[in-house]
Symmetry: C2
Subunit: 340 residues, 2 copies
DNA sequence: CCTTAAAATGTAAACGTTTACATAAAAAGC
DNA sequence: GCTTTTTATGTAAACGTTTACATTTTAAGG
């Protein structure tokens, strides 16, 4: 493997000059520049990133941790993140967790061991456990949580997200304003604080409207199609069948839509369906899905800016930064027909 | 930042012993092990990955390059890849290309500069251009192409994929066997060799069946929803409206389905729709989508195994490794009604 | 053309590991 | 208990950069 030394020798300069040519070209004279460039092309030299990062003490890398590639919701967030990353010269690496659940301590370790300069945790990434107390003192680490609501004991991680409880409550109130009172709710999973919050918002709205939530109206959808389909079947077979179903995300709403139609019922005439996220498929579903939109790109940008501040060593606090959500009404919801 | 030196000092041993404790614990005596472990916990030491990788000359990292997180097709492939990665102790980093198109030379460079030990390129990653000839000699680099069909001049990269031409031809023949002769085709984009191949298969089938392909029956869908919707509208307004539309991937088929229904036409009664990939949404669409399934997980596994062989320095040739595809018939296609 | 200031280049140390080799300690053989 | 073998530990070099500092070259000022 050709190193900077050989380039230097061939160009007849010192290795320092070669290094400068690569990192601060304007510090080297035109004539030398040419000599060095020729030597580089001739040898096919490429700087060893491993050595460079080691020497610099930072990698310029930011991890984005997410449960699964192939989840349409993250697209927008990633857009925002990558835009800022480009601007600030960071490289983004996505780490898919899939099944294996890493703990907050694992992430903490990635920073300590210099694998990355910072980490962004996207929704439902792990059953969070508090990180190890390090003897070095727990000064702020460049780790930030995006989209996900966190449990209180982890509140010392900064985060950026919408107000899931409020958004969910509003959406439920919309359903109520349409005349619905029998409303089913499909949440994600118990490890997803985010969908738990959405459930909380749902329940709060129901309570304030003095509407009872029957046993079996709130079911787990596992955050995926199959889970949602099973959950929907349960709701359809419920003795008091809901006239509206609120799904904690759009992916699940897709499954719900399918099951309702498979049961020869119509959406929204027989049952209204409400989703969450406003993924790109929402508007082309049949019928187009009413859902809560998150400003995904904005979330990504803000997350990234805040994280970079932390990387620079500035204090970014541990507050939650709330961005606005928006209810997008399409055609999967309609006023309750009094066709009793 | 606490380094191995401080641990050594605290434990009263040499840094070599600490290093050995971390990498080959069985080489150190029980008593020493304990001392070192205590020192590690006490100092909160974590090995500096940057230094370690630098010293070892390899990072243990494999890049998977893909156009967009949020594309449901890649899920299965990633599954396969990550499974093998775990087995072989590699870490997978996903790099999203989004808009910026990297050239094959950029990838080549990532290897030379030791950013990664190997690279997997997933479908439609870049408008490939041949890589720079390096003076070191172009001995095989650990770069492999997965899913994507490559242009001839790039055939020196090994790859793993289905036979897109054959698969597409078969699917078209299926449509023909149903009695269709007016068939529209929505391809992805001209930079995606993969969808170009699918178009080739389509045309070949039509030609063999002696069916003309009218001007305007083959349109670009941009590999996304919006593009496919526009393309579909063009097809619907065509003077000779197709009775079947074949989309080069399922994502586009989703858009097509939507547009057809928006135009108050029925699928499959008025128009049959055929997709490609068999993403997880295919079966819950309305109607469930007939499509060509790829053994995504298997592709991932094979790609990874072959890549790792290359990383170990073994010769893996530059052949295409073909895996079998399968037509999955659902309800978006039906025999042509002779209701003329 | 000489002096001084500015710009360009060179020298050498440092970053935190791993590892070949040398040495010391422990175990085994008699 | 002494020699030999095995096992455990220590010493020190090396990996390829970057960068503070020293030195040389060039430009500027008179």
């Amino acid at each position: 493997m050709v190193s900077i030394k050989e380039v230097a020798k061939l160009a007849g300069v010192s290795i320092a000059t070669v290094s400068r040519y690569i990192n601060n070209p304007d510090q080297v004279k035109d004539a030398t520049r040419e000599k060095v460039q020729t030597a580089i092309t001739q040898t096919g030299y490429a700087p060893n990133t491993l050595a460079r990062n080691f020497r610099r003490g930072k990698s310029g890398i930011i991890f984005v941790v997410l449960p699964s590639v192939g989840d349409p919701f993250f697209e927008g967030v990633m857009h925002g993140i990558m835009q800022v990353a480009e601007e600030l010269h960071y490289t983004i690496f996505i780490r898919e967790t899939q099944f294996n659940t890493l703990t907050a301590d694992d992430y903490s370790n990635m920073i300590f061991s210099k694998q990355a300069d910072g980490i962004i945790l996207l929704a439902s990434v792990c059953p969070f456990t508090a990180p190890l107390e390090r003897p070095g003192g727990n000064k702020q680490q460049p780790i930030i949580i995006s989209c996900e609501s966190v449990t209180p004991e982890l509140s010392h991680f900064p985060s950026v997200r919408i107000d899931n409880i409020a958004a969910s409550k509003e959406a439920t109130e919309y359903l109520i304003s349409l005349g619905h009172s029998n409303i089913g709710f499909i949440y994600g999973s118990h490890v997803s604080t985010l969908t738990l919050d959405r459930e909380r918002g749902f329940r709060r709205a129901m309570k304030e409207a003095k509407m009872p939530v029957a046993d079996g109206w709130v079911v787990e959808g596992g955050l995926n199609l199959d889970g949602a389909r099973k959950a929907t079947r349960k709701l359809l077979n419920h003795p008091q069948r809901p006239t509206a179903i609120f799904c904690a995300n759009d992916e699940m709403a897709m499954g719900t839509l399918h099951e309702i139609k498979s049961a020869k019922l119509r959406v929204p005439e027989d049952i209204s369906v409400l989703g969450f996220d406003d993924i790109r498929y929402a508007e082309i579903l049949d019928p187009p899905l009413t859902t809560v939109a998150q400003p995904a790109e904005e979330i990504g940008e803000r997350t990234m800016h805040r994280l970079c501040k932390a990387i620079e060593g500035r204090d970014i606090g541990d507050e939650v930064e709330i961005v606005p959500h928006k209810l997008v009404v399409r055609r999967s919801t309609s006023p309750l027909k009094k066709s009793k």
